[in-house]
Amino acid sequence: MKTLSRFWLLFMAVVFLAACSDEEGDSSGAAASGDKVKIEYWHVNAETQGGKTVEELVKEFNAQSDTVEVVAKFNPDMYKGLMQNLQAEAAAGNAPAVVQIGWAFLDYFSNNFSYTEPQSIIDQYFTEDKTFLTDHFLPNVMDLAKNSEGSQVGIPYSLSNPVLYINRDLLREAGLDENGPKTWQEVQQFSKVIKEKTGKYGFYLQEPADNWATQALLESNGAQMITNGKATFASPEGIEAYSLWADMIVKEKTALHIGWDQGIQSFIDGNVAMLYTTIAQRSNVQNNAQFDVATVKSPVWEGKEVKLPAGGAMLAITAQKEEQQKAAWEFMKFLYSVESVAKWTKGTGYVPPREGVADAENGLKQFLEENEMMQAAVDQMDVIVPWTSFPGDAGLQAEQLLLDMRDQILGGTITAEEGLTSTQDAINELLK
């Protein structure tokens, strides 16, 4: 009998191992009080990722508004977690008023939830703000929040873009221009010289579990990740761009192929001269690097137009009732004011989504003077394009195929041309 009960115990242990459970469930208990309209603002900013700034902004708004009271609600597990909670609440009929939607969920959100375009609320109730959006936002930035049908789903809020961080000490040591390379070809040459002269690695391009920076590299050379719903990155331009990166790693061994954390670390430790990653890493790099560090704008391909994908999220209005929708815009208008955006930028490291903040006294003027490394990212706001998300249910799998391809190409098992072509075929097969 003893044997049997032991078997049972172990069996339970194995069951426990195989079953994956996901915990979910936090309730929002906000009772309506007073005559203020109460609305909920859903965000994903944990304490360390700007959560404090969210609280501060909401508090400030509530203090100055006589009509609206905002309750901020934190959603764990980033934009995906928020989307899951929203699903549950929307099904129960009590959607929040304002939500943060990550770019990857733009299409999913607009296809599955009922939202109101900000402009239509403005036109209906706030005629004095009629030109607020066109006045203060670059058209290419507003386009980030348009879905594939051209509907303006929301307004960009958290924005980031990739920049090139350079170790000026190493560049000088190698006898190179301390202002860094301007083109990708120069990046390649610089890396060679750095390797020869200093023995250090020349370059590292971020390798997290997404293809954000790769898109910047390819699309800046004129390739298109996606055209009319089909993958098209294996064009001659795409292959040329990818080959340059792969060659630096596989053939010339001047660039580093390693995980994201270790790559950034190696740059901070002074073992890599140039780092291509998001501006959101600025405070980490700035606070830890012991050398003369700077950021420069994303390199270009000679004679081509730079196109940089945006990272981050937008704000969308999910309020259903008229008074709630009004309240939502009041709150959003406050969030997009120069002062609020400046606070948001300082608290999170994102780039301001609207114009008129960078050089305003009440905005970021002083902050940018003290944090010169932000400047490169602010300067390239006009070349920002949407971060490609592959459409439909297989979109995430398509994204994963690109990551698998990256490992194979940079690992040297296949060439960029083979990898891109076969992956493009596989993705188009999936998307059918």
């Binding site: 003893k2 172990l10 069996f11 194995v14 191992l17 994956c20 579990a209 580093l256 995980g259 270790q262």
Partner: protein
């Protein structure tokens, strides 16, 4: 406890992306897909390698260490005991982040020390084989202490008279180990053996998640991580559930084999 298990079985027959309100019934389609997918075999292969290395590091080595500490080393026993056990208190996430830095092949302390001897550290996080080995090492750091303490307690509990008698007869240490210690502590031994396999795969999940996300090209993914990856990264819950259930079936078969053939030879003191 059984609810998640039943729910997993239920999910394995549906196509669902975790956000959609509706689930689509697809019958055995998920199982067929999983069995057809070459990745499934790759991650099962990887899991076998993980199990092998983890058994070596967390079963064989602590067994020998426990024996040495109990019979060979005379002084500072409690120091060694706590030193070995200490890492078990620290979260694996913290450990993984720590090791990412310590073992950074370009600029970490280990790479620097190796550099003094003219050795270059391989960029392990991107190399097949190496990546599993290093991740296993990191995992071991967490479970070694626990296994060690249990084995030590068991070995310590063996009647001294038997050992002393053998020593008087000048039986060499390795013989004492294999012919007396191992059989007499086999009840704990088999427990550690199984727990190393079962827990090892689970614990390896954390460093995989933190350091490689299964890469490069699934070379460091094991079944547990892959099930997670399918469900929570790609949102293919059906595929993931089917994989989990298959994993469980395999483990249950292994357990039955274990009970049929190994359990008989185990020595339980108070049976």
């Amino acid at each position: 406890m059984f609810w998640p298990f039943l729910y997993t079985i239920y999910l394995s027959f549906f196509d669902w992306n975790m956000i959609k309100p509706t689930k689509e019934f697809v019958g055995l389609q998920n199982y067929i897909e999983v069995l057809k997918d070459p990745l499934t075999y790759k991650v099962f292969g990887n899991s076998a390698v993980y199990i092998f290395i983890l058994l070596l590091l967390n079963f064989t080595v602590p067994y020998i260490f426990a024996f040495i500490l109990d019979f060979v080393i005379g002084r500072m026993k409690s120091f060694y005991k706590s030193a070995f056990f200490l890492p078990a208190f620290i979260s694996l996430v913290v450990g993984s982040i720590l090791f990412t830095w310590i073992l950074n092949p370009v600029s970490g302390p280990v790479a620097i020390v190796m550099g003094w001897f003219g050795l270059e550290m391989p960029i392990w996080s991107k190399l097949d084989g190496w990546v599993i080995f290093i991740l296993s090492l990191i995992t071991s750091w967490k479970i070694f202490g626990y296994n060690f303490i249990l084995l030590y307690a068991s070995i310590n509990g063996i009647s001294r008279e038997v050992i002393e008698a053998a020593r008087l007869d000048n039986v060499p240490l390795w013989k004492i180990f294999f012919h007396i210690v191992v059989p007499m502590s086999s009840a704990t031994g088999i427990y550690i053996f199984i727990i190393t396999i079962v827990q090892g795969l689970q614990f390896a999940f954390t460093p995989i998640k933190v350091i490689t996300q299964g890469g490069p090209n699934y070379a460091s993914s094991n079944v547990i991580y892959h099930a997670y990856h399918e469900a929570f990264v790609l949102y293919r819950t059906g595929h993931s559930a089917a994989l989990s259930i298959l994993t469980m079936v395999i483990f249950v078969i292994l357990l039955i084999v274990e009970f049929k053939y190994v359990e008989r030879g185990i020595y339980y003191e108070n049976k």
